[in-house]
C-alpha cells in the first residue's frame, strides 16, 4: 500500500477502503489495555497487513489526532484517544474545511449569516410568541402531482 497523506488532492478509488482500514486499526487499538507497540496491533489485525502499513496507518491517525504515541525505548507505543465516531468527526471536519465547492453536494441546514441577517433573524424570532402553535399546513405535500 502506498503512503498517502490524508489530504492528498487526487481522487483515489481506494480512499474509502483506507478510511475503513483506519477505523479498523483504531477499533483494535481501542481494545488495548495499555499503550501498545505496533506489533501488538498488527497481530490483532489478523495477519495480512505489513508492519510498515500498520505504522503508516497509525501515523496517519496520529496526524488526525485520533491516537497518541509516546516513546518507549527505540520505538513508540500507541494509545487510542478517539473512537470510530470521533475519528469520523475529525475526518469530516477536514472535508468541510477543505471543500469550498461543496454546496451542491452537501446541502447545509443553514448558511452563514451576515450581521444584518442576524439582526433580522433575532427580530423575527422575538416577534414570535412561544405559545404552542396550531398552524399545521393546510395541504399535504403529496397532493401535488
Amino acid at each position: 500500500m502506498k503512503d498517502r497523506s490524508g489530504d492528498g488532492t487526487g481522487p483515489s478509488p481506494s480512499r474509502r477502503g483506507q478510511g475503513k482500514l483506519e477505523a479498523h486499526v483504531l477499533s483494535v487499538l481501542k481494545g488495548a489495555p495499555e499503550p501498545v507497540p505496533v506489533a501488538w496491533v498488527q497481530e490483532r489485525l489478523g495477519g495480512d497487513l505489513a508492519y510498515t502499513t500498520v505504522i503508516t496507518i497509525l501515523t496517519r491517525l496520529h496526524g488526525k489526532g485520533a491516537v497518541e504515541r509516546e516513546r518507549a525505548g527505540r520505538s513508540f507505543v500507541w494509545t487510542a484517544v478517539a473512537d470510530e465516531a470521533g475519528l469520523a468527526a475529525l475526518r469530516m471536519r477536514k472535508v468541510l474545511d477543505a471543500e469550498a465547492d461543496r454546496q451542491a453536494v452537501l446541502a447545509s441546514f443553514v448558511t452563514a449569516l451576515s450581521e444584518n441577517d442576524e439582526r433580522l433573524l433575532r427580530e423575527l424570532l422575538a416577534a414570535e410568541p412561544e405559545s404552542p402553535d396550531l398552524s399545521a399546513p393546510p395541504s399535504s405535500p403529496e397532493e401535488d402531482r
Partner: protein
C-alpha cells in the same frame, strides 16, 4: 442557420424574471423543478450552439484537421460574422468545457471524501458525529444517503427542533434535491446568464425541504425555530458578501416564509399574474432556445454534408 445560432446564448435572459419571482410566489417544489429543468435545457442548447460556431470557426483555421471543403464560402455564408464568431467560440467552448469538468470533478471529490470520512461507521440514515462545531448536512448516497449531524448542533436544539432538522435533511435525500442543485450548478458554468437560476434554486431547494419538514412535524413554527437557533449558533460572517444591497439573506427569508401560511401547491401558476407571465416567458425562451439550436444543428449538418465531397 443564420442568426438563430446566437439566440440560445442570450435566451437564458428570459428566465431572469421567473428566477426572481419564483422564490416568493411559487411553491418551492414547483419552483425548484421548473427552474432546474429550464436551466438544464438552456445550458445544453447554449453549449450546443457554441459547438456549432466552433466547427465553423475551426474549419477556417490554417492546418485544421477538418475536411477542406468545410471552409468553402457556402459553409461560411451559413454563419453571419463567421470570422469573429467562429474564432471567439473556440476559447468560449473550451472555457465552458473546462469549467464544467472542474466543477463536476470537484463535486465528485467532495462526495467521495465525505463518504470516506464516514467509512467504518454503520450505514444508518442519521449519523451523529462528536464535534462541538454545529453543522448538519444531507449527504446523498447511491441508495438512500444519510444525514450527518454534529453533537454541537443537536445539543443546541430541543427535541422537537431536532425532529424538524432530521425531517428537513430526510426531505433533501428523499427528494434527491442534489440532482437539481448539480444541474443548476453546472448550467451556471455553461452560461453565466444562468447564474441567477443557480442562486434561486439553492434557495428554493432549502424552502422545499423546510415545507416538507413542516408537514412532517406538523408545525411551521417549530421548523422556523430550528433554523433560527441553528443559524445563530455560528458566529456571523464579518465580511458581508455584498454589503447592504442584497437585503435579507436566505436564512431570515426562510424563517419569515415559515412564519407565514403554507404556500399553495400548484403545478403551474395562473397566466395573468406577474409570476405566471414570468414563467410563460421563461417557457417560451426555453422552447425558442431548443428550437433554434435544433434548427442550427440541422442546418449546419446539411450544409456540411452538401459541401463534403463523397
Amino acid at each position: 442557420m443564420g442568426l438563430f445560432v446566437f439566440l440560445p446564448l442570450v435566451l437564458p435572459l428570459t428566465a431572469w424574471p421567473v428566477a426572481r419571482l419564483a422564490e416568493s410566489r411559487l411553491h418551492p417544489r414547483t419552483a425548484t423543478r421548473l427552474l432546474s429543468a429550464g436551466a438544464g435545457v438552456l445550458a445544453v442548447c447554449s453549449t450546443l450552439c457554441l459547438g456549432l460556431l466552433m466547427i465553423v470557426g475551426t474549419a477556417q483555421l490554417p492546418g485544421n484537421p477538418l475536411p477542406d471543403a468545410w471552409s468553402d464560402p457556402e459553409v461560411r455564408a451559413a454563419l453571419p460574422y463567421d470570422e469573429v464568431a467562429g474564432r471567439a467560440a473556440i476559447p468560449a467552448l473550451l472555457a465552458v468545457l473546462v469549467s464544467c469538468g472542474v466543477a463536476a470533478w470537484r463535486q465528485l471529490r467532495a462526495r467521495r471524501r465525505a463518504e470516506a470520512a464516514l467509512a467504518g461507521l454503520p450505514e444508518t440514515s442519521v449519523t451523529v458525529l462528536p464535534d462541538g462545531t454545529p453543522y448538519a448536512y444531507a449527504l446523498p448516497g447511491r441508495r438512500r444517503g444519510r444525514a450527518v449531524v454534529s453533537t454541537g448542533m443537536l445539543t443546541a436544539l430541543t427535541s422537537r427542533e431536532r425532529r424538524a432538522l432530521f425531517a428537513h435533511e430526510r426531505a433533501h435525500l428523499a427528494g434527491r434535491h442534489h440532482r437539481h442543485l448539480t444541474t443548476v450548478h453546472l448550467a451556471a458554468r455553461a452560461n453565466p446568464f444562468l447564474r441567477p437560476l443557480r442562486t434561486a434554486v439553492a434557495y428554493t431547494a432549502e424552502r422545499w425541504a423546510d415545507e416538507e419538514a413542516a408537514a412532517a412535524v406538523g408545525s411551521r413554527r417549530c421548523v422556523a425555530r430550528a433554523i433560527g437557533t441553528a443559524a445563530l449558533l455560528a458566529p456571523p460572517t464579518t465580511t458581508p458578501l455584498l454589503p447592504a444591497v442584497t437585503g435579507a439573506g436566505p436564512v431570515p427569508r426562510r424563517v419569515a416564509a415559515l412564519l407565514r401560511p403554507a404556500p399553495q401547491s400548484r403545478t403551474w401558476p395562473p397566466l395573468f399574474t406577474a409570476v405566471g407571465l414570468a414563467a410563460w416567458t421563461a417557457a417560451f425562451g426555453t422552447t425558442a432556445s431548443a428550437l433554434s439550436s435544433a434548427n442550427s444543428a440541422v442546418a449546419l449538418f446539411l450544409t456540411l454534408r452538401a459541401a463534403t465531397p463523397m
